[in-house]
């Protein structure tokens, strides 16, 4: 199966090791990754969607046409990109006039949108297309003995009618099952479904309160669990959940918050045997405590 990888901006610009982990792990599991040549911003919710509906739709249309031209669906890791592309497609598919107008705008660029390509989140592809069972059979290393917690990307849960794929958006299970497939034990805690708070203007407009909001989540994690790592599946969750831990430590004057954060595909790529220097080298919270405890999986006779 072929999927067109929509990289977004943060992943290739700031965390290309996550991109490497995605490009390394998917082919092992039978997914051929195709490039989205000349893609543009998804567009981010704080850009065209906040300024002008027509420009939002035109930009969405530009991107959607790329997957259509490649003849496959998009696969996206960034939660915001995923949600923006899904919403853009939803708007265009439910309004024939809008769709016709966007195609008029695209026409001189040699592009067209019909809706034949869908937009899929990478955790959905891993969970539903490939499945935890198949993933478990491919491992060279395991997270056996390690405890993790999971952070579901809000943009893959809500609004479930547009972006959802879980049986219940209020009791999601995909990311948990995927982490368990790597051998780890996943612990639950009271604020598991609380947003990381990293997207949009909250951190920019009222940083003090946004940090306090994130701290309630991390304090619940520390009080209720004892995790060796946090697994996310969104670039904003990854960067924000690292960044705030460093800020909290500065505030309290000790290294109290030091839970390594991984994108799921990084854990997956590590378990598939890829070099940590390539798939897991960039982080603001040290990851050695996890990397050093991964155990080799004996090949089945």
């Amino acid at each position: 199966m072929q999927l067109c990888f929509f990289p977004g901006c943060n992943t290739p610009a700031i965390r290309p090791d996550v991109e490497r982990a995605i490009r390394a792990s998917l082919p092992v599991l039978g997914i051929e990754v195709v490039d989205a040549d000349n893609y543009v911003c998804c567009p981010a919710f704080g850009s065209f969607p906040s300024a002008d509906e027509e420009a939002w739709m035109a930009t969405s249309g530009w991107n959607l046409s790329i997957a259509e031209q490649k003849g496959c669906d998009f696969v996206v890791q960034c939660g915001s990109c995923y949600s923006s592309l899904r919403m853009g497609r939803e708007h265009l598919m439910h309004d024939v006039e809008k769709l016709a107008h966007v195609n008029e705008l695209l026409e001189p660029t040699g592009r067209q949108v019909t809706g034949k390509s869908k937009v899929r989140h990478i955790s959905e592809v891993l969970f539903q297309e490939i499945g935890p069972e198949k993933i478990a059979t491919q491992l060279k290393k395991s997270l056996q003995g390690l405890h993790g917690i999971v952070q579901y990307p809000c943009h893959t849960l809500f609004p479930s009618e547009v972006v959802g794929f879980e049986k219940s958006p209020r009791a999601p299970e995909g990311l948990r099952r995927l982490v368990e497939a790597l051998g780890a034990t996943v612990d639950s805690y009271s604020r598991e479904l609380q947003c990381c708070g990293g997207a949009g203007g909250f951190m920019k407009s009222t940083p003090e309160q946004a940090l306090e909001f994130a701290k309630t989540k991390f304090d619940a994690i520390l009080e209720e669990t004892n995790p060796d790592f946090i697994a996310v599946s969104c670039i904003t969750c990854l960067m924000h959940m690292e960044r705030v831990q460093n800020t909290f430590n500065e505030q309290v004057g000790e290294e109290r918050y030091k839970i390594p954060v991984f994108d799921y595909n990084q854990l997956l790529a590590l378990c598939l045997g890829f070099d940590p220097k390539e798939v897991s080298s960039i982080s603001n919270v040290p990851r050695d405590s996890v990397l050093s405890r991964m155990v080799p999986v004996k090949p089945k006779a």
């Binding site: 901006c9 290739p12 850009s47 065209f48 027509e54 420009a55 609380q194 947003c195 949009g200 203007g201």
Partner: protein
């Protein structure tokens, strides 16, 4: 007290022309799950719905709380009246931009200039060290970037404010 002369009754048609808006019964579900409701000032989504319905034009134009939204869309999921509050927040931002060009996010200028809000695909050495090939970005494809810009320039909000995008 709300004075009749301060109210612009048809404001909702200009901002968020959907009948469901009027089904809002102020239940506060949109606020209770909202991360940015913890801000100072808080983002109070139902208050924004009231302002749109009541037509409090000046008040709403000065209100910057819609920009604190994290786009998590919990309100969109949970709203029992299908107001689609996240779409409403985006619609309010768009209306504010139409009425005050200083509110137009600079991110759209970045996207016009290089396709993205960030410098994507220029970290070639880092990519190579990770085993990644160069990314086929639009920033590095002048012909495609020009087509993208020409498409955007046909859009009124952009051509009306073209001075932002030149140079």
């Amino acid at each position: 007290m709300l004075l009749a002369e301060q109210s612009s009754k048809n404001l909702w048609l200009d901002i968020y022309n959907t009948g469901n808006l009027h089904y809002c019964f102020n239940c506060n579900t949109c606020v209770s799950g909202c991360p940015a409701s913890h801000g100072d000032p808080p983002l109070l989504v139902r208050n924004l719905a009231r302002k749109v319905i009541l037509g409090l034009e000046e008040d709403l134009l000065m209100d910057d709380t819609p920009w604190a939204c994290v786009s998590c869309s919990r309100c969109e999921e949970m709203c029992p009246q299908n107001v689609m509050p996240f779409e409403m927040i985006l619609a309010i931002r768009q209306w504010q931009c139409r009425n005050d060009e200083t509110l137009i996010p600079s991110a759209i200028v970045e996207i016009y200039k290089r396709g993205y809000t960030q410098a994507v695909g220029v970290n070639l050495e880092l990519r190579e060290s990770l085993g990644l090939a160069p990314l086929p970005t639009i920033t590095n494809n002048q012909e495609q970037l020009e087509m993208f810009r020409e498409m955007l320039m046909k859009i009124e909000l952009i051509s009306d404010n073209d001075y932002m995008f030149k140079g």
